[in-house]
């Protein structure tokens, strides 16, 4: 089924671009390569890719600007590659609309895993969202607001429920603290990172077997959380 998936790879470093393109093609994806933001914009319009892999340090334009412009018209997932290790840069890219990031140097296996998770997501808004979410041995009935684990009902508070549904609806995506706070509590709470940590802690206590070594809600230190189905 990978044949139908097209990936736009935007990277100015030729060696990395070719290595990654080869790996993706070996996995059966169609890869469109671009070395500049200008070229990438043209390809994005012409080829309508299913996923964009974007290096933030491009010669002609800031990668962040590319993300913002692209997000203005397309909901297609963006995976960011960054040589910069600063957490603030990652947060900025994610807040601009990127879905995930990988710091250089990264392993190809890791990259492929992230690509697969992002592509598996229902991304076209026209599709009727499934009112039921499932991950691990959990089932969430979004209509009746019931969470079950292995058939047993699980009691969650209002906020915990909302957090869980939001996480489960965005598998593989790195959600920044700010993004989660505005989604769950509203815009006025955007800076209260402590609330988020506490509630994520509560939620982990209820859904993780080992809250200190979570399987589903993973921490991206300094950035946010990633939900792993």
């Amino acid at each position: 089924m990978n044949e139908s998936k097209c990936i736009l790879l935007v990277e100015d470093e030729r060696q990395i671009r070719e290595a990654v393109a080869t790996a993706l093609e070996c996995e059966g994806f169609a890869v469109v390569q671009a070395g500049t933001a200008g070229h990438a914009a043209v390809e994005a319009g012409a080829r309508r890719p299913d996923l964009v892999i974007l290096d933030l340090g491009l010669p002609d334009r800031d990668g962040l600007d590319f993300i913002r412009d692209y997000r203005a018209w397309s909901p297609i997932p963006i995976l960011v590659l960054s040589a910069r290790t600063l957490e603030s840069v990652k947060v900025e890219a994610l807040d601009a609309g990127a879905d995930d990031y990988l710091s250089k140097p990264f392993g190809v296996a890791e990259l492929l895993a992230r690509v697969r998770v992002l592509l598996r997501r229902p991304q076209v808004r026209e599709q009727i969202a499934e009112p039921k979410l499932a991950f691990g041995d959990f089932e969430v009935d979004c209509v009746n607001r019931i969470v079950e684990r292995g058939g047993q009902p699980l009691h969650l508070t209002q906020i915990e429920y909302r957090l869980l549904v939001f996480f489960a609806a965005n598998p593989g995506r790195v959600l920044t603290h700010r993004h989660l706070l505005t989604q769950i509590w509203g815009g006025q709470a955007a800076e209260n990172h402590q609330y988020l940590r506490v509630y994520v802690g509560h939620l982990r206590q209820k859904i993780e077997d080992n809250p200190a070594q979570p399987r589903h809600i993973l921490t991206e230190i300094g950035v946010g959380y990633r939900f792993q189905p």
Binding site: T85, E87, P105, G107, E110, T157, Q158, I159, W185, A189, N192, H193, Q194, Y195, R197, V198, Y199, V200, G201, R204, P211, A212, Q213, P214, L218, T219, E220, I221, G222
Partner: protein
């Protein structure tokens, strides 16, 4: 109601004192000898001279003689003097009174002068003490400003630095400033409201330490010794400024020297500790490129190349991190966090890199949140775990345990390797210090140094020891503060 000037008061007293003396002896004038009365008047002149100085003393002398002649010399209550010897008494009394008044007032002047001088020396002494305590030129300038405002009554006071000569603050004008600098002496200009603006060069002709500018009342700087005093103040300030600038230069040089040292250490580390694994990388790649090794060996080679490259990348990151940490004041981005969050994230990262090693976590329940820079603490945990993995056999596990110890959070990372080389474990945390100088484990000796820098910035401590059963133990202690109360955002249904 206006207060009479002190001068008027003094002359008033010069009249009151002899009048009082007159009324004192008036009832006994027949019993007291005329010469004794004259002496009493001389005494009143002495009193006025001691208290009010020369002018009032002369006035008292003349007024006393007139009173003496009028009241006591027969005929009484008339200025007419009939006998020549009474006239003589009156004249001698006047002369004596004038002389005594003169000498006494001179003495008083000297005493006043000495007192003023000692007060000035005392304030100057206190001021120079303050200046010697000032560490930076800003502190010197602040102390100077405070001194001028409080002991000379200046309303504004500035030190115009040589860099600011082109655009001096008002009311100093460039022309006045220029001539002050060129002549190296005090210059002033009237401000119009009975005050003068004074410019004083610091550091003689050329004003190498800047120019002191302040305003004072017109009366303050009239006498030469007042000018001398202000010039002494200026010289004290200029010495203090010079000293503080030298101290600043010395500090800068020290910082420069330290970063120079760091740079050369980094270069050394790059040339030795990174070149060796790079050479291995090249030869492994070449071997693989020959295409003559078996498919299995080839796979192993490629695997080794990858591991090697990742490890070089890790060392690069450590180098960059260290350069960042030592380039200036470390700024912590602290926030209250559950400990589990940082631990979980560090473990997740380390397990991604070392999939086959067993890493166990033993965490006490109900740990309080701590206020840390999570990114940096994660870095510390990563470094400790990586060390434990690298320096212990591949088939042994690594344990991390977390708990509370004496009001502090205790994180221990234990391995089952050969342990630490010697008892001097503290040395391990120094920059570019490795357990063994030549080791087959890749590294540049930065990880523990980074860990210590970060932990100490968190007011915590880090130590290393050998475990009784073998293996090394690295122990981090972090203070547990008082987490702020959190108002509930959600009502429990």
């Amino acid at each position: 109601m206006s207060v009479p000037s002190p001068r008027l008061v003094a002359y008033l007293w010069s009249a009151i004192v002899p009048v009082a003396a007159t009324f004192l002896v008036l009832p006994y004038r027949l019993a007291i000898d005329l010469s004794n009365v004259a002496l009493l008047y001389v005494l009143s002149v002495v009193v006025t001279a001691t208290r009010f100085g020369r002018g009032p003393a002369v006035a008292t002398a003349i007024f006393s003689s007139l009173l003496f002649a009028y009241v006591f010399v027969p005929p009484h209550f008339s200025l007419a003097i009939t006998e020549i010897q009474y006239l003589l008494t009156a004249i001698i009394m006047l002369v004596v009174a004038l002389m005594v008044g003169h000498i006494t007032s001179e003495l008083k002047q000297h005493a006043d002068f000495a007192e003023r001088k000692s007060l000035q020396s005392k304030t100057l002494y206190e001021f120079s003490q303050q200046l010697s305590g000032a560490g930076s030129s800003e502190a010197v300038i602040e102390a100077t400003r405070h001194f001028l405002v409080h002991s000379l009554g200046a309303r504004q006071a500035d030190v115009i630095s040589p860099a600011g000569f082109a655009a001096p603050p008002l009311p100093a004008n460039p022309a006045l400033l220029e001539s002050c600098i060129a002549r190296g002496e005090l210059l002033s200009k009237p401000l119009g409201d009975g005050r003068f603006y004074v410019l004083l060069p610091l550091g003689g002709v050329g004003a190498g330490q800047g120019v002191l500018g302040f305003d004072i009342e017109a009366g303050v700087l009239v006498s030469p010794d007042a000018v001398e005093y202000v010039e002494t103040v200026a010289s004290v300030v200029s010495v203090a400024l010079e000293r503080s600038r030298f101290a600043e230069i010395a500090r800068e040089t020290e910082v420069k020297h330290a970063s120079e040292l760091l740079r050369s250490s980094i270069l050394g580390a790059l040339s030795h500790d990174l070149r060796t694994p790079l050479a291995a990388l090249v030869s492994m790649a070449d071997t693989a490129a020959l295409g003559k090794v078996s498919a299995e060996r080839q796979k192993a080679l490629l695997e080794a190349i990858r591991t090697q490259a990742m490890s070089i990348g890790q060392q690069m990151m450590n180098l960059l991190e260290m350069a960042k940490l030592s380039s200036g004041a470390l700024e912590l981005n602290r926030a209250w966090q559950p400990v589990e969050e940082v631990l979980g994230s560090a473990l997740q990262l380390i397990r991604q890199q070392w999939t086959e090693r067993e890493i166990s976590l033993d965490i006490a329940p109900d740990l309080p949140p701590i206020c840390i820079d999570a990114v940096l603490i994660e870095r510390v945990l990563w470094n400790l775990l990586e060390n434990a993995i690298k320096y212990s056999p591949a088939d042994t596990g690594v344990e991390m345990s977390v708990g509370q110890a004496a009001g502090q959070l205790e994180i221990c990372v234990n391995d089952s390797g050969p342990g630490l080389p010697d008892a001097d474990c503290h040395r391990l945390f120094n920059l570019f210090q490795r357990g063994k100088e030549e080791s087959d484990v890749a590294g540049v000796g930065l990880g523990l140094s980074i860990a210590r820098t970060i932990i100490e910035a968190h007011e915590g401590s880090i130590s290393a020891s050998n475990r009784p059963g073998g293996g090394a133990c690295f122990r981090v202690l972090l203070p547990i503060g008082n987490p702020p109360a959190m108002p509930a955002l959600e009502k429990t249904p």
